[in-house]
């Protein structure tokens, strides 16, 4: 199976030097670091970039393509600001790939950035449309955590199952030089941490992070001129559901529907029939530990209801059946909203090139970046990349 996106290649990637509370840096500083690292990594100059896409979720980080144009001085070319909640960066990457696949441009850049700590406060600032009283009280952790009681009732999910996700992702992230947290946590620490929302304690929640990431994207035939170890795109799934999940009687809180639907699209494009056998590693959206457990199930790495067991048994470890979040994930690496999708693709790219900065999944050939956004799963973006298709 082939389609036009299979001709798309990534030849360079970069990210802000460190993710986390970057009080001393602006969004411009973060994009400066990510953008020029990506161009240097690819061996291209700013004047080679013909078009750009920048993922940003919060308007206070920046509006319009100029947020990307100014720090990199990429003036006079088409640049589009993409916003799709936590998938904003993934959608920037997707649109950049589609533009190259269309033949309109030969060389483009996708990037994402978020500068959340300038706004302070507890938790994430409010995002998007709001109503004064309807849906009031919802928070990011509660929106995802509402799945816990349903999952517990149907499948016996436990508090400990959630904690194992944090332990695994911190063990991975501790080894990554750019991660927000560079430390491991114990099961006991996770369970005893104060509750943020229901069963989700402080260590079950991703932190508030600043960061940026960028990718240089071109066609396979051009990529060969720049490097031998470029990676190629096998699939780009994107599925949008609703902003009103707790008002939809058909939403059962047992699966993140956009993940299921985006995975269906992506696996069809990539010709993947058994993801557990065919995918070596996956950067999976783990804004909260429970989010990762449902995602592992929804992506088909295990049966519905067995996600907790899958993690607990070590099957999601870097050397397990499939490495889930070898970077440390949002949980430990950090989650600068608009940057995360591109950051995941950057990590998968380096894993497939065998030059992971943290823990390396040995022999990785096929990797996934999975991004879920909205209050409990409104939108999901999935990219599947390969180091095996360069000559196909």
């Amino acid at each position: 199976m082939t389609c036009a996106i299979h001709d798309v290649a990534i030849i360079g990637g970069g990210a802000s030097k460190v993710f986390g509370e970057q009080f001393g840096k602006s969004a411009d500083d973060l994009l400066f670091e990510a953008g020029f690292e990506a161009m240097d990594d690819a061996g291209v100059k700013p004047e080679d970039i013909q078009a750009g896409w920048v993922g940003i979720a919060y308007s206070f980080t920046g509006l319009s393509g100029a947020t990307m144009a100014d720090p990199l001085k990429l003036y006079d070319i088409p640049i589009t600001h993409t916003e799709n909640y936590c998938c904003s960066g993934m959608d920037a990457f997707r649109n950049a790939c589609l533009a190259v696949a269309s033949g309109m441009y030969d060389m483009v850049m996708a990037c994402g950035v978020e500068k959340i700590t300038d706004q302070g406060g507890r938790g994430l600032p409010g995002l998007g449309q709001q109503h004064p009283v309807i849906f009031r009280g919802i928070t990011a952790p509660s929106a995802f955590g509402l799945a816990f009681e349903r999952h517990r009732k149907e499948f016996g999910l436990t508090r400990e199952d959630l904690a194992y996700v944090a332990v695994k992702n911190h063990a991975n992230g501790a080894a990554h030089p750019r991660a927000h947290f560079r430390r491991e946590v114990t099961l006991e620490q996770v369970i005893k941490a104060p509750s943020i929302s229901g069963p989700l304690g402080l260590l079950d929640c991703c932190p508030i992070s600043d960061g940026a990431a960028a990718l240089v994207i071109t066609r396979k035939d051009i990529a060969r001129k720049y490097r031998d170890d470029f990676v190629t795109v096998r699939a780009l799934g994107l599925s949008v559901y609703s902003n009103w999940l707790p008002f939809l009687p058909d939403f059962d809180y047992l699966a993140w529907r956009p993940t299921v639907k985006a995975a269906e699209q992506a696996y069809a494009q990539a010709g993947i029939e058994d993801p557990l056998q065919e995918i070596d590693l996956a950067e999976v959206h783990d804004c909260f530990t429970i989010t990762e457990i449902l995602n592992i199930e929804d992506l088909g790495f295990c049966k519905k209801g067995e996600g907790g067991k899958f993690v607990r048994e070590g099957r999601a470890n870097v050397d397990g059946d499939v490495a889930i979040n070898p970077s440390g994930g949002l949980k430990c690496f950090g989650h600068p909203i608009g940057a995360t999708g591109c950051r995941m693709v950057f990590e998968v790219m380096r894993q497939l090139q065998g030059r992971a900065e943290g823990k390396q999944r040995e022999g990785a050939k096929t990797g996934m970046a999975h991004n879920l956004g909205g209050l409990g799963g409104t939108v999901c973006g999935i990219a599947i990349l390969s180091s095996d298709d360069r000559h196909k």
């Binding site: 507890r122 004064p132 955590g145 816990f148 349903r150 609703s242 707790p246 009687p249």
Partner: protein, 475 residues
């Protein structure tokens, strides 16, 4: 025949023991409790609850008026009667009026409603009063004032359960208790002894005796004397002076023991309590209420009282209660701390546009597939029928589908119990849960809806619905 056609009351779920107040300040305490509005309750939400209890089963389109009385309305300029009428789904043409400032506002409203019914101007007028007066800490008033609401339905015809016989009013200028407009949050007083004896006792006795004389009644002919008082002791002092025999059950309990003095709401709550407590056809009820004078109204119970379906009033509310565990919470709820109220996103434009959703909680039902949903949208999420919906009043009962006790939302009190509820009509709705023990919330728990204050963003009160565990008691 003109008179009262139904009644209801509301007593908040939380009760503060006087012992806890006494221990907090190291002073002597009286027995009993004070009914205390939760942080999301005020005179409006309690009056809504009493009015809903009073009008259970009544077709809202027949409501001819909604009168609200309180000295603790949330606004100095802005009608509350319109909020309540909108929640009740009363027609736009129903008369709405706000009675305020004097604690006799409730009996003024009741007389106005009776007069309107008597002259044929309106039928089925809901008269409701809610009160949340705040006492100065470390005074006897602190152990006296309680929160609550009462309601009666006034009108004419066969449905009258207590026929209006007549009334008498006296004015009496005195500084007893007061709060200065825009200046005082807590109750002021100067010399309670003078006010109790020269004000309350003398004026109340004179008014009650005068009313009986005017209406041709004797103390013996009164089956139930429903008279209010500023405090427990004063209430006990005047029965004998009016010729009533408290020991023989002739005097209606003033609710000081477990509820406290509810100001404007007190006469309506006591009247509701009388009407649910063994009165029979032919019984004469004397209602007397004091504040800067007195209003006395007399009623005669009709055969229709026995036929009225059971109402949720004082007895049912007293059966459902939960202890408020600290004086600090009580003080925060009463606005006696420097902690500002919850300031969340507000928009008068959105609230106005969505009035039918926010106040009477209307959703839509698809005319093609019957899917009932909220919030209102144009295209059916199930069958995709376009703009083919009927606006419906959503069910007020349901079950918890899932929930979480969240500590992140900056509420007055955490955790905030967030629930996803399946209503009995099939609609699903996200609601905060109130009046619950957080650790006892469960999936599949039965809940009922209650109208509450959600936050005070933009410097005005945003009201909406919450759910709470179904209240048992009084059935």
């Amino acid at each position: 025949m003109v008179g009262i056609k139904s009644f209801g009351a509301y007593v908040p779920w939380l009760r503060l023991s006087r012992e806890l107040i006494a221990r907090g300040w190291g002073m002597p305490g009286a027995p009993g409790t004070l009914a205390t509005a939760n942080f999301d309750e005020d005179s409006v939400t309690m009056a809504v609850e009493a009015a809903l209890n009073c009008t259970e089963g009544l077709d809202p389109s027949t409501m001819g008026g909604v009168f609200f009385a309180s000295t603790t309305a949330p606004y100095a300029e802005k009608s509350v009667a319109t909020i309540i009428a909108t929640v009740l789904d009363a027609p736009a043409e129903a008369a709405t009026a706000d009675f305020a400032v004097s604690m006799r506002a409730s009996t003024s409203a009741l007389q106005a409603a009776l007069d309107a019914a008597a002259c044929g101007k309106a039928d089925n007028i809901v008269v409701t009063a809610g009160e949340t007066r705040v006492a100065e800490p470390i005074t006897s008033w602190e152990q006296t004032l309680g929160d609550g609401a009462g309601a009666v339905l006034v009108g004419e015809g066969d449905g009258v359960i207590a026929e209006y016989l007549g009334s008498l009013s006296l004015k009496d200028e005195i500084m007893f208790t007061w709060r200065r407009a825009e200046k005082d949050h807590i109750l002021r007083e100067y010399n309670a002894r003078m006010a109790q004896s020269e004000g309350y006792e003398k004026v109340m006795v004179r008014a009650i005796r005068g009313a009986m004389e005017k209406l041709g009644l004797t103390p013996e002919s009164v089956a139930r004397a429903v008279f209010t008082a500023p405090d427990f002791r004063s209430h006990g002092r005047i029965a004998a002076k009016c010729g009533f025999n408290a020991a023989a059950g002739q005097v209606q309990d003033a609710l000081f023991a477990f509820v406290g003095g509810t100001g404007t709401a007190q006469p309506l709550m006591m009247l509701a309590n009388a009407l649910e407590s063994g009165l029979k056809e032919g019984d004469v009820v004397l209602l007397a209420h004091y504040a800067d004078g007195a209003d006395v109204l007399a009623f005669k119970v009709t055969a229709a009282l026995a036929a009225l379906p059971p109402r949720r009033a004082v007895n049912a509310c007293l059966a459902a209660q939960h202890p408020l565990e600290s004086l600090a919470k009580f003080m925060r709820y009463r606005g006696l701390t420097a902690i500002p109220p919850l300031d969340d996103f507000g928009s008068p434009v959105q609230t106005w546009r969505d009035t039918a959703q926010v106040f009477p909680l209307h959703g839509v039902k698809c005319n093609q597939c019957g899917f009932v949903r909220f919030p209102v949208d144009r295209v059916c999420g199930r069958c995709k029928a376009r703009d083919d919906n009927t606006e419906v009043r959503l069910a007020r009962r349901g079950r918890v589908f899932t929930f979480i006790n969240d500590n992140l939302y900056p509420a007055v009190e955490t955790p905030t119990t967030l629930t996803v509820v399946d209503l009995e009509d099939g609609a699903r709705i996200f609601l905060q849960m109130t009046d619950r023990v957080a650790d006892e919330v469960e999936v599949d728990m039965e809940v009922e809806l209650t109208f509450r204050k959600i936050h005070s963003g933009n410097d005005w009160n945003h009201y909406f619905w919450k759910c709470r565990p179904v209240r048992r008691g009084g059935e």
